[in-house]
Symmetry: D2
Subunit: 146 residues, 4 copies
């Protein structure tokens, strides 16, 4: 398996969100607990949607829809530690009718990649949790970078 950056830093299409590592994020190995990178990535996706003009609480209440992770490939390259300041990237790779695929990188202060993921997000009904089409107003904002 080659390790090409999932998110190309030369592209202008990457949304990034800063995250600070607190004690809550670490484990007794002295590093960030592996599951907690998923928290960081979800924060960045939330802020990316907010940046595009979409608030998920309103999407749930007004449109009855949720975005749920349906598949995730995560690679842990280097550990992040307590007090580190990280950047979490979001870049759209593919956009389907009811799902999208994102590349997400977590990088350290020196720009080194610590964790990289490909994440498939499904648009689902908030009640039944069954797939639903992504609203067209949203599709317009989510452009796939070339």
């Amino acid at each position: 398996m080659t390790r090409k950056p999932a998110i190309d830093p030369r592209s202008g299409d990457v949304f990034t969100w800063p995250v600070r590592v607190y004690y809550e994020d670490t484990d007794a190995g002295g590093i960030v607990y592996h599951a907690n990178y998923l928290h960081f990535m979800e924060r960045a996706r939330t802020e990316w949607l907010r940046h595009l003009g979409f608030e998920q609480d309103r999407l749930k209440e007004q449109d009855g829809l949720l975005f749920a992770v349906s598949r995730m490939l995560v690679e842990y390259l280097k550990p992040a530690r307590f007090n580190d300041r990280l950047e979490v990237g979001v870049k759209i790779l593919r956009r389907g009718r009811a799902s999208m695929q994102l590349a997400q990188d977590v990088t350290g202060q020196g720009g080194e990649r610590l964790c990289t993921a490909t994440v498939r997000i499904a648009c689902v009904d908030a009640f039944s949790l069954r797939p639903r089409p992504i609203p067209s107003v949203m599709l317009k904002e989510i452009d796939v970078a070339d």
Copy 2:
């Protein structure tokens, strides 16, 4: 402040639930993260209610009620560490119309107290989150030890 055991081990009225410390529970200090003792205590309260015959998912769906922590005094006496096997106690101290007060201790394998808490649980409406009377069928089961 004196440090009398919140739960008297000589009493027969203590419900205890075993908890194993996994990596998820620890932090970079090498010990259990302080907020995670609250997880352990909530697991023990859930199992105590189950032991008394009450399933909280059914209480929510059928009776529209939740139990929520409204106040908590927690003392951290000694740290728990990765891989420790703990016991978490639940003992009812006081029972009101819409709330109850519990004593909860977390003890280590040698019986030493690591963390002790007094927890007030409110019975609330699952939708409005406003106080509601504890169901009478439940009050019968929740006896206050003397």
Copy 3:
């Protein structure tokens, strides 16, 4: 028990830190999970120390000391929900030789108090976890408001 604000908003001595509620912070009751307010409070304490010039990773490595919660009284007044933007306050109440007592409030966007706590923080040896005097350089910075 009266419910005087633990942190007086008219005082200039309150450090505040913004926190956004993400999915990771909520539970199936639709609100912030009670233990997760402790995460928010710890983030605010970390940023308060950073604001005063103290980085906890350096304190651990160079001075071999940690700050650990030794006692906490938490009151849950109103629930916070997904997507809420909160403010978390830190105000020092008392300062001992090896510990300090802080008032911490979590407030919502309208300024309403959601959760209030009194937290005792102990300065401990990073290895033995036994009490240690707070460094004098730190004591100078931590002034008790009147």
Copy 4:
């Protein structure tokens, strides 16, 4: 992508560990938060190693080694909910000199698969976090099923 069970239930080589869903595991969507399945899987791996005779706290102290997740492919098939009782499986797929690959399934009470993962675990030095050979005494116990 076909969805063959990562863990073959007909094989005798699957270690399973029960997990109960508590409030701490859920989110405001009413279901288990996606990152928390990784907690469940790590608990099962810990118990699997314990079952084989290996305690990770001793491995760290005596041998100076840790097991760390280096890569993970997770598929979320159906949501788990508050109060569900789950089974988490561990089955070894491949065994290298310094890493192993595991299949892990989370199944519900009716045996339905909710979440399935392929997890690569690296054996690393507890201090430097660099790859280290898996101890030979351990390799003997970790047999790859055919």
